[in-house]
Amino acid sequence: MQDDSILISRLKTKDEKALALLYDKYAPAIFGVILRLCKDEGIAQEVLQDTFMTIWEKPDAYDPEKGRFYTWSYRIAKNKVLNILRKPKKLIQTEDLSVYKNKEAIELSNDSELALKGSINKLEAHHKRAIELVYFNGLTHREAHKEMDVPLGTFKSYLRQALKKLKESYSIALVLMLILIEVMR
């Protein structure tokens, strides 16, 4: 991630081009997550722009020692979406500030655009679901295990195993890609 550290240091000197390059690199991934979180194109666009405004205005809040740039921007975006989604519901909900209390929202859209792609589909259904709930639906662990109707410990285990499988899957993909690149040379 040598590229990122250079871009980020340029970002800290208010280099607009660095922001544009970081946007090109990360916006689609972030947009994919936040669109699935809110299922509203307008909100998702607004949040995406807002997220990069925050990145532009507070680049010093990012510490490369504490994690990847993507993770940092994902957290910013997720918080913004959840803040928007929670606002109108505050009137109804008093204690639990869960975003998707109603089943409707939790059901993943059948919309082909929003349907999950890639390695996640190779996972077993309950592993996929665990990931889906915390990552693409914005549920907390506590909300998610209730949603799946399994104990919290079990849910955590699902998530851990899911991530482990994904890692293996990505490693194989990476190896295959490297072999492919080698062959092409």
Binding site: F31, V33, Q45, N79, I120, H141, K156, L163, K167
Partner: protein, 259 residues
């Protein structure tokens, strides 16, 4: 090792990556990761896992979002740079204004100095003009006098008589013009020798043996009009005490001419 496995099983690390933890828990994990490379690597793998998931499921946002974003940040920066430009252009204008002010100051001083020069020149010229006017007046007066004298002496009725000095004043010579029609006598006393301060020349007309005063001859000399005396037989000039005399001092008669 078991501690680490326990930590992994708490799910805190996943929650950390997903941003579910509160500030205190987050700080705790951060401190832990700093001191434990294995756990840090483990977290890095979780991060990569979620990141890869996101990349797998990336959706290209509409181009308008990027253009809005870039125009918003460049607007913000432009506001700053614009105000800087204003400042610098203000400075630029101030510089120009200062230059103009300095130029005006210098040229005002220059013009003031020039004005003083012109004033003194004008004064000089005006003085010269006054002097020339005086000269001209004098000349005009002289000319009038000359014309007068010329008229008198060129008059056909004017008779010229020359009075030559006798032994008492051999250098003396007076030209007189007598006009009986106009009843005027004019003399040219230029060649009369100078007298001391206590005496004057006086002119007399002889009428039937009686000497009648025709007037003193002024010391300024030149052409002088004398009193015309009817029936004068001769013109006589004597040296008299200063201011003239009622009767001529015959012993000091220096010249006479018969008409």
């Amino acid at each position: 090792m078991t501690d680490k496995t326990k930590i992994k099983e708490t799910g805190l690390l996943e929650q950390y990556v997903l941003g579910e933890l509160d500030a205190a828990q987050q700080l705790e994990i951060e401190l832990l990761l700093k001191s434990d490379e294995e756990l840090a690597d483990y977290v890095l793998e979780i991060e990569k896992g979620f990141e890869n998931l996101a990349i797998d499921n990336a959706i290209t946002p509409p181009k308008v979002v990027k253009s809005n974003l870039l125009s918003e940040i460049s607007n913000n920066t432009k506001v700053v740079s614009l105000s800087n430009e204003n400042k610098s252009s203000n400075k630029w204008y101030l510089g120009i204004a200062a230059s103009i002010a300095a130029f005006l100051l210098i040229s005002t001083y220059f013009l003031y100095a020039e004005l003083q020069n012109v004033k003194s020149d004008l004064e000089m010229v005006s003085n010269e003009k006054d002097m020339l006017m005086k000269d001209l007046n004098n000349m005009a007066n002289n000319y009038d006098d000359l014309i007068n004298w010329y008229d008198i002496i060129s008059d056909p009725n004017a008779e010229q008589f020359i009075l030559k000095g006798n032994d008492l004043s051999p250098e003396a010579k007076i030209v007189s013009y007598v006009n009986h029609e106009e009843k005027s006598v004019v003399i040219n006393a230029e060649l009369l020798p100078e007298l001391d301060q206590n005496h004057d020349y006086q002119m007399w007309a002889d009428v039937d043996g009686e000497m009648i005063n025709m007037g003193l001859i002024p010391k300024s000399k030149g052409m002088i009009a004398m009193t015309y005396i009817d029936n004068a037989e001769s013109l006589n000039i004597t040296i008299e005490p200063l201011g003239g005399n009622d009767h001529p001092t015959v012993s000091r008669l220096i010249s006479n001419v018969y008409l």
